[in-house]
Amino acid sequence: MLMKKGIFVDELRNVVIKIGEIAEEEEEWESPGPTPKPGIIELRKWDHKLLERYEPFYAPMQDFCNLCTMGPCDLSFNKKGACGIDLRTAKARLVTIACCIGASAHTAHARHLVDHLIEEFGEDLPINLGGDVNVEAPLIRTVVGIKPKTLGDLRKALEWAEKEIVKVLHSVHIGNEENFVDYESKAMHVSMADHVGMEVADIAQIVAFGFPKAKPDTDLVPTGFGIVDTKKPVICVVGHNVMYSRPIIDYLERSGRIDEFEVAGLCCTAHDMTRYRSKAKIFGPISYQLRVIRAGLPDVVVSDEQCIRADLVDACSKMGIPLIATSDAAVRGLTDVSDWKAEDIVEALVSGKLKGVFLPVPEKVGEVAPKVAEEIFKRNKDRKYKFFASDDELKAEIAKCTQCMSCVFTCPHNLRIDIGMAQAQKTGDLSKLAILEEQCLACGKCEQSCPKQIKIVNVIMRSNFEKLYAKTGKTRVGRGPIQDTEIRKVGQPIVFGQIPGVIAAVGCINFPDEMKSIVEILEEFLKRKYIVVTSGCHAMDIGMIKDEEGKTLYEKYPGNFDAGCIVNVGSCVSNAHIAGAAIKIANIFAMRPLRGNYAEIADYILNRVGAVGFSWGPYSHKAASIATGFNRLGVPVVVGPHGTKYRRAYIGKPWKNDKWWVYDIKSGKKTFIEPAPDSLLVAVETKEEAIVQLARLCIRPNDTSMGRQIKLTHYIELSKKYMGDLPDDWHIYVRSEADLPLKMREELLKVLEEQHGWKIDWDKKKIVEGPLRGYDAGFNPTVVEEVFAKYRR
């Protein structure tokens, strides 16, 4: 029998209320759409529509499968395995698994947070994201179909997400799906759940921890390798779940000693620490873990979950740095000291009796970490170790190299360590090694393969130490959601195309080239008045790359969600606000209802919102599910070349004219259109290619003439600049002469006539014949039959 907990209405005590299913009597904030709390099949039709256009592309990493014990099975050349699955479907299944893992990461993170915060703040803590944010949870509204008002309400969204993740994971069990398109649909489904999980997590921490609420001008915090005052004990937090390390700040503030310590973070916990207090600093992304630890910078390391090196215990203990692991997702084999007294924990760590401890009790972490740091600091004053004790040691290490190239063939970037070593051996010149630092992920694989056991990472870091140490910039603290007011302002220009696009640079950092490339790419768009949004590791990298005047992009461009501005939403889970912004455009600007209305919203975004995701160096499963979630929402994503290793892309064939059509609600007709955008997920090789692809994928069928003109202007200019000529396909985006970039109009009309056989009325400077379709101001595209029917009524 169920009874309410909490305030007890006395008369009720003896009324036996058999409450079976608790129904939500939602305030009628919006009439419910067709797919609240969707299961696997509710949105299948939408997925199949997308996937018919954006055909899944598979690039297997291995030719066989060994997922079950009937295998291993040779699936090469699309053969079938013992269970009957073929290579394509097996790869789609792997992608589905990856997306399940990504979605689980965010959802479990959210679950940890929400359960913990409800304990701390109560389930009634209102969801208040500031006066400028009324559409508080666009993803939850659209997907789950509820409007969460309190922390407690977020649990309902989580329960839905958990249920769906388990269902999709079920489908990868041997003997289920046999069709790769249906696996892709499931990958999209679970990735949509991933976005809900992210939204829950970020909303929960914003409201409970008092993070900035959609504030454009948040503080700037120091970012980079050289940011800490080495005269103070350094507490280094690493991971994604700030819940465990926040109490460190609280403790230091309470004891009035915050200024005597340095609290700096790696990965998203760093973002979230700075969102909590801008006294915290950012060391850098995942690739800075070994850099920071091997340099001996921290006096204590506090790890939580995700994207933490799996050799952390070893790496820290080699440098004499005690480790405090906090999350049950990564216990690291350490002793659980939850029940120990704080002093005893401190003693065990400081004395070295334990290399590290598992301490999942946030308050205790808050007390233990500073105390340990202080003690370790005392005996570790010369920790500016520069990776080698002396130049001679460095030299001796370099001397060991035989140029065998084992390292090169195991390095994710095939960095030519051998050449750098040879040069240093011959001439003492470290410059070739120093250059490697700009690209090195500090992943350590080279060291694993080196027969001479050379500390290659240390050699590389030391060789570029001055520059590395000087990599100190500023990151604008993650602001969380986009304001409804901002959406109101930019909604129309985005949908009509006058703001040429929104570039969302998010995710991980195994960039194919130097870290500064991300800044070069984004600045091209900032200058051209695109809106740039960022988060996670990309946002940190941006914060440590300075121009000649020593300024980062954050200092040069404002933090508004507006043309020519750069918005750091925050950590990985803050990516939800980027998807949310797209949804809010459909809702706030276009008045499309959200509640359980996913397909209509995604269709709106696909056809109208020129937003493109960009992840220059994605590698995590979370990046896979984030991207796939954006794809289902109609947002294309461009990834760096390592992104091909996700094995799957969604790439349309623009030359297949019959694939590109919409229903035009205005005319009531099925209409062939230009292929815009023509890919949903595509990997580029170079930064030049990234720039051009991003520009072209911002084009949308719904662009007004003015909008199309602006978008084409940038696309053509960038293509000329980086590809050396007009793009191959610019003309297929031309519906009338009004679409043509003003300055180039004549030139382009000539090209259309000469190279494409279009008929031009040269007197009027008008196109007479040629375009696939004409421009119609009332054009109202959709690919969803139900949406077409609804608005045709």
Binding site: Y58, L87, P512, H642, E685, E688, M723
Partner: protein, 178 residues
């Protein structure tokens, strides 16, 4: 330990999928590439981003073009090529997209399907994935002529990373014979 002369069964593992399966690229010398190109009905050279950093590769690609082999330029490699007079078949699409197109039998940008595709100037891990897709899902003859040996290609130069000059010489050798 077993020399080829002896008539000895080959070491065939009990299960082809244990440790490894499928075809590894045949490591070839320039002359083989020449023959493959000569026999091709519709060969094409695809160039990648390394051309932005390695001028010699641009020079090589230009020569291929001048020998009548059409060029698809990706990764921004069109820029130096166009500057040198090449008119690439494509310059806008990524190798990822071009590969997706190649997998489709209807893709005939110069009137017929490509039967032999040469790859020059790519990040090895990026090219490797594309070669894998083409290996499993198409019947195209793929030839990697970069400095790294590419197992997923049908034919590949052997590994030439120790000796850039040898790589260039091999490329020149091809050019001198087609």
């Amino acid at each position: 330990m077993i020399s080829k002369e002896e008539k000895f069964p080959i070491a065939k593992r009990y299960n082809v999928a244990d440790v490894q399966v499928s075809r590894d690229a045949t490591a070839v010398k320039p002359v083989v590439v020449v023959n493959l190109i000569k026999k091709a009905k519709n060969p094409v050279l695809i160039t990648g981003g390394s051309l932005l950093r390695e001028e010699k590769l641009v020079e090589i690609a230009v020569k291929f073009y001048e020998k009548g082999i059409p060029v698809i330029a990706t990764g921004g490699s069109s820029k130096p090529l166009i500057e040198k007079g090449v008119k690439p078949l494509f310059k806008t699409y990524t190798l990822h997209q071009i590969t997706q197109f190649l997998l489709d039998e209807d893709f005939k940008p110069n009137g017929k399907s490509f039967d032999v595709v040469l790859f020059l100037g790519f990040l090895p891990y990026y090219l490797s994935r594309m070669l894998s897709a083409l290996k499993h899902f198409s019947s195209i003859t793929t030839i990697a002529i970069d400095e790294f040996y590419h197992p997923h290609a049908k034919f590949s130069f052997t590994n030439l990373t120790k000796d850039k000059e040898m790589h260039y010489a091999m490329l020149e050798e091809i050019l001198s014979r087609i």
